[in-house]
């Protein structure tokens, strides 16, 4: 446990380096760097209501990122969290139409389940393609993201279209308030509880089951596990499905909670931020929680930057990209140091 927290802290150092680089860039672009950084910190955690706002973003990100971590551990690079997130939300929205009028205590779990199934389904086909014909899951899940994005456009401007909608974005009919699990601020006991349950279950799966150990071995050396008689596809596909289901769950939470509806192109970076979080956390569940709060903070600050520092909120995208760059560099950097450290024969 200490180890995993230590890794996160070490990763966060690289994140801070990325922030410093961004500050330099902002300074060169004519903004006031110290003010910008302060605005990020202030918008994320300090100003009143900032923590709630950060958690609102952190919880769904945590759920998706834990799932991403599960598949990465097993050596399957599911980068389709974004698509699975969308398909989860879409599935829940369809389910909501189907069970309209039922009692809330039945409808809410049904919708959550539908969302998880949808997400898992969107992970199933790349998983099968990989296992059946060796198709690279990086490519298929990435393509799946675009397909899911287009599916969302179709659904919100077709079957689920809200005729009264007048905004620029096509969106679905709003969910009956009786089935909402939070108000539009997006932080509620239900969502917190879901995140906590997911966290505990996934921690147990990773650290306290044979599956966790074997999936981790398989992710590091599939050949060795095959020689032990394991069926790699079983480990791989189940990791893939868990990963998809959790992304779908996060999408459903966004639909049933803060958004109350699905709109074309909503939260377009959610899945990618989740991948970043999983990597920063070095795939540990506890680390993912810490990193999710951090990135939730960044998301919250994004809304605050234009007011405070006069920066467009897209500046947060630059910050995210810089962090991605540093984290990737970190892993190769550490790999190289390790290789130098241990000469063989």
């Amino acid at each position: 446990m200490k180890d995993s927290l230590f890794t996160v802290v070490r990763s966060l150092i690289f994140v801070v380096l990325a922030l410093i680089l961004c500050a330099l860039v902002f300074q060169l672009a004519g903004y006031n760097a110290p003010v910008t950084l302060w605005a990020v910190l202030d918008g994320a955690f300090l100003r009143s209501g900032a923590i709630e706002q950060s958690l609102r973003w952190a919880l769904p990100l945590f759920i998706t990122a834990v799932g991403v971590g599960i598949s990465f551990r097993a050596g399957f690079f599911n980068i389709g969290a974004q698509g699975q997130f969308y398909v989860g939300a879409i599935s829940a929205a369809f389910a909501a139409e189907a069970v309209k009028g039922g009692p809330a205590f039945l409808v809410i779990p049904t919708l959550l389940l539908a969302g998880m199934l949808g997400g898992a389904l969107w992970a199933l086909w790349p998983g099968l393609l990989r296992l059946r014909s060796g198709t690279d899951e990086v490519i298929t899940t990435l393509m799946g993201n675009f397909m899911a994005g287009l599916l969302l456009v179709y659904v919100t401007s077709g079957p689920l279209k809200d005729p009264s909608g007048s905004g620029q974005q096509a969106s679905s009919r709003p969910l009956d308030p009786a089935y909402r699990i939070s108000d539009s601020l997006g932080l509620s006991p239900t969502i917190i509880m879901i995140a906590v349950v997911v966290g505990i279950l996934m921690w147990l799966l990773v650290n306290r089951t044979a599956f966790g150990v074997l999936a981790s071995l398989a992710g590091r050396n599939g050949t060795m596990v095959e020689w032990q008689g394991a069926r790699l596809w079983k480990l791989g596909l189940s990791s893939f499905l868990v990963s998809g289901a959790l992304a779908g769950l996060a999408g459903t939470i966004e639909f049933m909670g803060p958004n109350g509806r699905i709109a074309s192109g909503f939260l377009p970076a959610h899945g990618f931020t989740a991948i970043l979080i999983a990597l920063v956390a070095n795939l540990s569940v506890l680390g993912t929680a810490v990193a999710a709060v951090f990135f939730g903070g960044l998301a919250s600050a994004a809304l605050y930057l234009p007011i405070m520092a006069g920066l467009p909120s897209a500046a947060i995208d630059i910050i995210n990209a810089a962090i991605a760059l540093f984290i990737t560099a970190k892993s190769t950097f550490i790999d190289r140091v390790m290789r130098l450290g241990g000469p063989k024969t």
């Binding site: 306290r208 044979a210 150990v213 050949t223 020689w227 032990q228 008689g229 189940s238």
Partner: protein, 526 residues
């Protein structure tokens, strides 16, 4: 070479360190010109590092290298080459898709240009013939037998008038007949005035070919160069192993470990294999060829409890496919496999393991261990796979059990959480043994279980296999080292081109087994 210097190659106080590891420590040796010199030692003694220093591939931390009376700059291949030192590596580096002539032209000179295949063949025919490499110069490297590939590798090294030729473990890949051919070739080089340094690890090879012998142990020079005529095999064996270790070894084991004489397995105190139904019974098993090796073609093999069956053969004759077939990892085309009385032909590895199949695989670091995972995870994988995937576990308890097991197998390690990749080869292999040799093991496949291990670890592995055998397990041992096979096998079967080519019982005749390995003699099967 008119004013011949005292030595063709001389090393003075050569020390090589890789990080914390000292591979060579103050080695000084002088090799007289025009002779055949052997450098011997067990795995990890520093033989290859020594060769690589001489060839300029490794920059020594300290020390000097002198060729033909002239000091050369160390750590520079071009410098060593210019001085006339050439090294033929343990694993060949010939481009498989090139023809022989192309290999000679481009491998040797590195020049480009326009050429005709015929012209190239003409150009190199005489050179190859002069070195007694008989082959069609337009054949591709990958289609050639390993002996010929080695001949070409040597010929390539001799294109530029090399005066010192170093061969790193040239016999490791050869059949007994191939070794005879190599030695004949080396003797002819000597007649041409080339100084040859052979890195070897079998004493009888040293005694059979070399004029002098130099012994390395633990990175230090123990003795040499000594005239071979003045040392006995007995003394050499003790020099290689070290007096202290030599005392702890059984005489036959020691002889097998250092290859003192032609191996035979003359022990008479072997327990007679228990009569009883076979643990492994393969009938007419054929496979499709796969990435792992050539296809099996009608294998019939039975192993009874309490029996070690050795598979001899030049590498690449289907040994890997045999192991994969028994492990349910090969594509079976026909035949049946029976394990402890159950037909497992269509059963996956998980089922076979549940019946009692255990595998010490060929590739320790790929198939045997996940190097970046912890020891306890590696150790527990087999047992974890016996139960349901969602079975709850207590890592602390597994770590404790792992600690006990690793201690019982005398693994040197710090804690069960350390990465498997941080262990030495011998200790890594012991972790695999600790996992694969348990009381429920019925058939243990040991594929090259001692490759790369030093003498202590090798003897340990042999002991472990014998103990498992004495408990009634059936053991299938695959090795390319005939000394090892003959020393610990109760029966030896030869593999050639995916078929079994003869079965032999102790005392083994290296001539007959060797002939079966190359398919030279029919009627060897008993």
């Amino acid at each position: 070479m008119s004013n011949s210097p005292q030595s063709a190659l001389e090393c003075r106080n050569v020390t090589v360190k890789f990080g914390d590891v000292t591979a060579l420590s103050e080695v000084s040796a002088s090799f007289a010109p025009g002779q055949i010199h052997a450098v011997v030692g067990q795995n990890g003694a520093g033989k290859t590092t020594f060769a690589r220093v001489a060839a300029g591939l490794v920059q020594p931390t300290l020390g000097a290298v002198n060729v033909m009376g002239r000091d050369i700059r160390t750590g520079q291949v071009s410098e060593s080459r210019a001085a006339g030192v050439e090294l033929v590596h343990q694993s060949f580096a010939l481009p498989p898709s090139f023809t022989v002539a192309e290999t000679m032209e481009f491998g040797a000179t590195g020049k480009g240009g326009i050429y005709s295949r015929k012209g190239l063949a003409e150009k190199w025919r005489a050179h190859l013939a002069g070195l007694d490499v008989q082959t069609d110069l337009n054949r591709r490297i990958r289609d050639l037998p390993i002996e010929t590939q080695q001949g070409i590798e040597i010929a390539r090294a001799l294109v530029t008038d090399a005066r010192v030729l170093i061969l790193d473990e040239p016999t490791a890949v050869l059949s007994p007949a191939g070794i005879d051919m190599l030695f004949a070739r080396v003797r002819r080089l000597k007649e041409r005035g080339v100084t040859v340094i052979l890195i070897l690890h079998k004493i009888r090879e040293v005694l059979g070919i070399a004029d002098t012998v130099t012994v390395l142990r633990g990175g230090r020079k123990v003795e040499g160069p000594l005239p071979v005529a003045e040392v006995s095999g007995e003394r050499l064996a003790n020099l290689i192993v070290g007096e202290a270790v030599a005392k702890t070894l059984d005489r036959h084991d020691r002889d097998a470990l250092v290859g003192t004489k032609a191996p035979a397995h003359e022990d008479t105190d072997q327990p007679v294999p228990a009569a009883g139904p076979a643990i492994l019974s393969m009938k007419a098993v054929s496979t499709r060829p796969d990435s792992g090796g050539i296809a099996l073609d009608g294998i019939d093999l039975e192993i009874r409890p309490g029996e070690i069956v050795g598979i001899a053969g030049v590498e690449g004759n289907g040994q890997k496919t045999l192991v994969r077939a028994i492990s349910a990892l090969a594509d079976l085309e026909g035949g049946s496999i029976n394990l402890a009385g159950q037909d497992v032909t269509r059963q996956p590895l998980a089922v076979r393991r549940r019946i009692g199949l255990r595998i010490i695989p060929f590739e320790r670091n790929v198939e045997g261990l996940s190097l970046t995972s912890s020891l306890w995870q590696n150790w527990s994988a087999r047992e974890l796979l016996q139960g349901s995937l969602l079975k709850s576990i207590r890592p602390a308890a597994i770590r404790d059990a792992c600690d006990r097991a690793l201690k019982a197998w005398s693994v040197h390690y710090n804690n069960a959480g350390q990465r498997a990749g941080s262990l030495s080869g011998g200790n890594a292999q012991k972790v695999i043994l600790a996992r694969e040799i348990d009381p429920d093991a019925k058939l243990i496949i040991a594929a090259q279980p001692t490759r790369g291990l030093d003498i202590g670890a090798t003897a340990f592995v042999w002991q472990a296999l014998r103990q498992a055998r004495d408990r009634g397990a059936a053991i299938l041992l695959i090795s390319s080292d005939l000394d090892e096979l003959f020393d610990i096998s109760d029966r030896v079967v030869v593999m050639l081109s995916g078929r079994l080519n003869g079965e032999f019982h102790a005392p083994f005749d290296i001539g007959l087994v060797g002939a079966a390995m190359t398919g030279a003699a029919a009627g060897a099967s008993a």
